[in-house]
Amino acid sequence: MCGIIGYTGPRQAQAILLEGLHRLEYRGYDSAGLAVNGPAGLEVLKRAGSVEELERALSQARPLEGLSGIAHTRWATHGRPSDANAHPFTDCTGKIAVAHNGIIENHARLREALKGEGHVFRSETDTEVLVHLVERAYKGGLEDAVARALREVEGTFAVVVTHGDEPGVLVGARRENPLVLGVGEGEMFFASDVPALIRHTRRVVYLEDGEVARITPKGFAVSALADLASRPRAPSTVDWDIEAAEKAGYKHFMLKEIFEQPRAIADSLLGRIGDAEIDALLEGLRPVRRVKILACGSSAHAGLVGRYLLETIARVPASVEIASEYRYTESLPEEALIVALTQSGETLDTLNALRESKRRGSASLGITNVVGSSVTREAQRMIYTRAGPEIGVAASKTFTTQIVALTLLALAVGRANGEVAPEKLRYYQRQMRRLPQAVQSVLWQNEKILEIARKYAQVKDVYFIGRHVNYPSAVEGAHKLKEISYVHAEAYAAGELKHGANALLGPELPVVAIAVKDAVYPKMLSNIGECTARGSPMLAIGTEGDTELQKVAEDTVLVPEVDPMLSPIPVTVALQLFAYHIADLRGCSVDRPRNLAKTVTVE
């Protein structure tokens, strides 16, 4: 997946590039490298390992001098993490350096062709073909060479290139992977996303697909990749205060983000919970008769909650499709409203599924946390989750705010089709207003959840069970545990256990059961009984005041009462804390779990 940064200006590039890499680390962190263009020509240093290791290597050598350069932090797709496979890559002349985020699909064919022409390859990656293509196409103008090289490439890229003969010049191009220009005073930046730039400038230009840009300290010029036709662009100003995304005393970003949820949820409701604002969500879309939610990972689990919300509140059929699978479904005319759920707005699987659905004629609505991301350009309408930047790789506040957005959507659809009468709307508005306080109440039980987590810290496998709208909570709870603590966990609809999974129950297999006081509560009590009867340790998440539950489960965490349809929100917060503490007790790297990256821009 990877993060890219480029700089050109009056200052020494090395320090700026390293700092940018630190800010991009959440995009990938198995190797890193930089290339600086200076008086001694192009100098490259790259290492497998974290950005810190790269820094250490740099401090042992003399600093790379130069006023422009590019740097890269990698999340491996082709070729294992190693010094040789790290970006940036140089060509046979050693004058050109390339950093790339994406996948070159026809790299094997191109590699053969280039080898045949005498080019020497030093890595196992797909990216390396790019630098040799540029080498081949270079006739004195870097932008021209890059554009011609990229026309031969099939696949996706955000790429930044520099040439030793053209100090101060950087060329970047984009196809399906994000690339942003930062406009400074007498200096310019490239970056994979805004957080890497925010310390230097708030004026940015988002490159669109099929565009190439050339930057120098004096400014920038954007053109079309296909024919280098000029595309004049004006910078926009970014609102986010990324500085606030520092840990501020919390041990991990993820813990901070879990604790931010009351505010994030309140912000999600602000100015959107009124009648007129809810109606406005579907403006311009044709009447909604069914909904298909496309998402990946935690967003898909939020989508599962959304499905229950849409069916119960708005009474429209709704389904969730795993985005990467959507394109393999039969290509029938798409009548449903497609809701693309993506925290980053850049998740490639989800974007591709969205594009496919539009090809099939769907209306579309995107739900994302990042204004200006790719999904905002693909979907007809948008709902923003407004949770602020989420740095921890595992979703926390973006998950709960996605559920808030889906609830607003369900209310909007219900209003439009008459299923939600004014009194029902008022009821849900009041219930939603109680969410920030309910989540805060769960957070106040942090110490208690830590104590429970101590008991479970060394387990090898956990079942999470729930029914109805809390089945997705169980799925998300298991997912969270897996992601950050590397403990295997599996979620089951509680009614399913007896159809096979019961066989694994026993003292070695603890169970986390979600049993809030709703219509399915009696059945959940029976399921809990089934598990404890077979010796499984039991942690039950229930409703405040439920003394019965405390009798049947070894450990309980009780959350405040909210409408059952909204209960996944406080329940999930409890499960987030549970997963967090287990991961922390096991010494895991909570904010950057192994093998994962925050925004998945590959397929």
């Binding site: 500085e243 606030a244 005393g249 901070k256 409701l269 919970i273 109680r434 306080q437 106040w444």
Partner: protein, 488 residues
């Protein structure tokens, strides 16, 4: 930030350190007198009867009583601020304390995070520092620290830079100060409590003190000094501090605001090793060693919150400087009069009448036909049903008050819900808090967070309802309600 306690290995006894110095003769420094009203200050200890203290001028007259409105926090202009503002100066805010006497409000937040006029006390302290050019702030936190960290984060939102040090057990102020020690950091350090509202002018007076080589502390007059740390001064220098003396020789008391040279950390360390955990012990040690401590005198009103009802008086004071500002929606037919701040996303519905000074937070739904009288602060995400009157009260976040209700002279904490016909009677009551007995006048209800009240609950004057209580209606509540109780 980890928990850090710095105790060195040396076996030296603290009485050996440092060698005594000859006391130098010094010229009498300018005593800094604040003229007129309008300068609040912090207080370190509380008085018994109510929070509004009266101050004395040098002539011994009572300068002002409850009737006079102070000018509030005036912001000095750039030229007024003058020299002596070292922007590299660090400030250490002691914010680890619990605030036992402010329960139930301090069951879920540290005292420093108590909201006044819509903002936590600690924010006013941070603002006073920023106004004086001090942006390098270290906060010593402990009790319920996530509340502080979640709100302030790294301080950028407030124009300052904040780092945190955790005091794992609240042993005392010198112990707290030690947590903020940073190896190698030089320069003087401003130490102050986070739980007293302090004005920028007070800090300015301290920073502009005449003798830059001496340590300094802010002292103020009190009509009842024997309840506090009484300061004996001579020629502008502090000669001694006595805690709660039976007979006090002076009427100057310690506000807890200090300006120390970096040497104080070593001295605090020795002090803690000798199990003397308070900064006053460290001051005594400094004095005994002949170190100069300049006493900077401040006049004016105090703004200290000791008991829950003090919140109302201090809230009223701070609201004096409210500006009329609307970021929300005022429907046609709703009247907003006077200095009223309405946050974004809030709707004031038709027929409502809001009179200032009043602050209303974000995302609220007020009305229709709701009446709000001064001096009232309403938090975020608050719903008030039709035909309700709210007067001189503090309502925290996420509260819902049902229609046809009357809330006056009351404080209601986060997330509490009431149904219709919720009435707070106000009147006189003998309040009992942590062993203190205090008569309070015209007090409404003190209600903790996450409570629910059924329809037609009437609360007698001065009743304290704890956290998470459930009161079914109809009820006349005539006795305090403990936490988690169910009243039928």
């Amino acid at each position: 930030m980890g928990e850090r306690i710095f105790l060195t290995e040396s076996a030296k006894d603290w009485t050996d350190f440092p060698p005594r110095r000859e006391a130098k003769a010094s010229s009498a420094p300018r005593g800094i007198k604040a003229g007129g009203s309008g300068r609040g200050r912090s207080g370190r200890r509380r008085l018994q009867a109510g929070a509004l203290r009266e101050s004395r001028s040098a002539a011994g007259k009572i300068v002002s009583g409850a009737g006079t409105a102070p000018k509030g926090f005036t912001r000095p202009s750039r030229s007024e601020r003058g020299r002596g503002h070292i922007s590299s100066m660090r400030a250490v805010i002691l914010a680890a304390g619990e605030g036992l006497r402010l329960r139930p409000f301090t069951l879920t937040r540290p005292k420093v995070m108590l909201p006044v006029a819509g903002r936590p006390i600690l924010e006013y302290v941070v603002e006073a520092l920023k106004e004086n050019g001090i942006t390098d702030i270290h906060m010593v936190i402990g009790y319920q620290r996530e509340r502080i960290q979640s709100y302030f984060e790294n301080g950028r939102r407030f124009g300052v830079s904040i780092t945190y040090a955790v005091q794992p057990k609240q042993l005392g102020t010198a112990h707290a100060l030690l947590q903020a020690r940073q190896g190698g950091a030089e320069g003087p350090v401003l130490v102050l409590p986070g739980d007293n509202l302090v004005e920028p002018d007070t800090l300015r007076a301290l920073l502009e003190r005449s003798d830059k080589d001496a340590n300094a502390m802010v002292v103020t007059f009190s009509p009842n000094p024997s309840k506090y740390g009484v300061v004996k001064m001579d020629g502008g220098l502090v000669q001694g501090i006595t805690e709660k003396p039976a007979a006090s020789a002076s009427d100057l008391i310690n506000t807890g605001i200090y300006l120390f040279s970096p040497k104080v950390f070593e001295l605090a360390e020795w002090s803690v090793r000798a199990s003397r955990f308070d900064l006053t012990d460290v001051l005594q040690a400094l004095i005994e060693r002949g170190e100069k401590i300049q006493g900077v005198e401040i006049e004016g009103h105090w703004l200290d919150i000791v008991y829950p009802w003090d919140i109302l008086t201090v809230n009223a004071k701070i609201l004096q400087r409210t500006a009329a500002k609307t970021a929300g929606v005022i429907e046609p037919g709703a009247i907003v009069e006077g200095p009223v701040t309405v946050g974004k996303g809030t709707v004031i519905r038709s027929g409502s009448y809001i009179r200032g000074p009043t602050v209303i937070g974000e995302g609220c739904d007020i009305g229709p036909s709701v009446v709000v009288f001064p001096s009232t602060s309403i938090g975020n995400n608050v719903t008030i049903g039709p035909f309700t009157q709210v007067r001189n009260s503090v309502i925290h976040n996420n509260v819902s008050i049902g229609g046809s209700s009357y809330v006056a002279n009351s404080v209601i904490d986060d997330g509490t819900l009431t149904r219709t016909h919720f009435v707070t009677h106000h009147g006189d009551r003998l309040m009992m808090v942590e062993g203190d007995v205090i008569p309070v006048m015209d007090l409404g209800a003190i209600i903790g967070d996450s409570c629910t009240f059924g329809p037609q609950c009437v609360i007698a004057p001065g009743i304290v309802v704890g956290r998470r209580a459930r009161v079914e209606g109809p009820t006349h509540v005539t006795r305090d309600v403990p936490n988690d109780a169910l009243v039928l």
